[in-house]
Subunit: 145 residues, 2 copies
């Protein structure tokens, strides 16, 4: 799958799965709702303000190792319709590009328009796209004249 199609499928997917690595080793997974900014940067937000007593595992992991993978996919019992797209990159949480990220997320998710997330924004700089689909998209028929 070419990179443009990876980007488009990823950008349109309603949710993705974030993988990080725990400080003690071993992978960690959690679903995210995301947006893709024009410069191969994916973003998601933490809903609640961080509390000292309860830090999210995904943020603990990111402080220890910035490397992430994010996967968007489609499943269908007709396996001719399967596809997945994976973005590999590095991520950090903070306030960088918060306004831009929030606008992109609010444009995609009504729940965020109604109640904006209060926690930090996670910025993922994507440095590799991989994708696979069982069947290519139907050809575009270009009629002459």
């Amino acid at each position: 799958m070419d990179v443009d199609r990876c980007r488009r499928l990823f950008a349109e997917a309603r949710r993705a799965i974030l993988a990080t690595v725990r400080p003690e080793g071993g992978p960690h997974l959690v679903p995210i709702v995301h947006a893709l900014l024009p410069d191969d940067t994916a973003v998601f937000a933490i809903d609640e303000k961080p509390k000292r007593t309860q830090r999210l595992q995904r943020l603990i992991n990111l402080e220890h190792d910035h490397r992430v993978a994010v996967l968007a996919d489609h499943y269908d019992d007709d396996w001719a319709r399967l596809w997945w797209v994976r973005a590999d990159g590095t991520a950090s949480a903070g306030e960088a590009r918060r306004d831009e990220a929030m606008r992109a997320l609010a444009a995609r998710y009504r729940a965020y328009r109604e109640r904006p997330p209060l926690g930090p924004v996670v910025i993922i700089e994507i440095d590799r796209w991989r994708g696979w689909e069982a069947a290519p998209p139907p050809p575009r028929i270009i009629r002459p004249g």
Copy 2:
């Protein structure tokens, strides 16, 4: 979410996402079609026989680090319907429990009944369940008499 509900949602999910860790570090993600055996063992299969020239990244990773996470989830734009279940464990690929795994996979997936996978079976011994859902299931109404 209690462990029995984690097990049920995971067992019924049509696909899950497998996370492993690369030998050089950094997470790796791929969707899988899976079955849950009665003893907290999840299984999936590799479709094709391994070729020396093209080894799958997930198998390379497992040889280096057996720790995995597997996530099943449901997304809906109505965020009151969201849920996810994560199984953390250790995995290895080979021929162990192949017949049992193949029976369980074939029972779930027609495509596997029509064309059984030829590659190794991956056995995941789950040692921790985690789950979250936005809303609890509706109460069962028990009528007297």
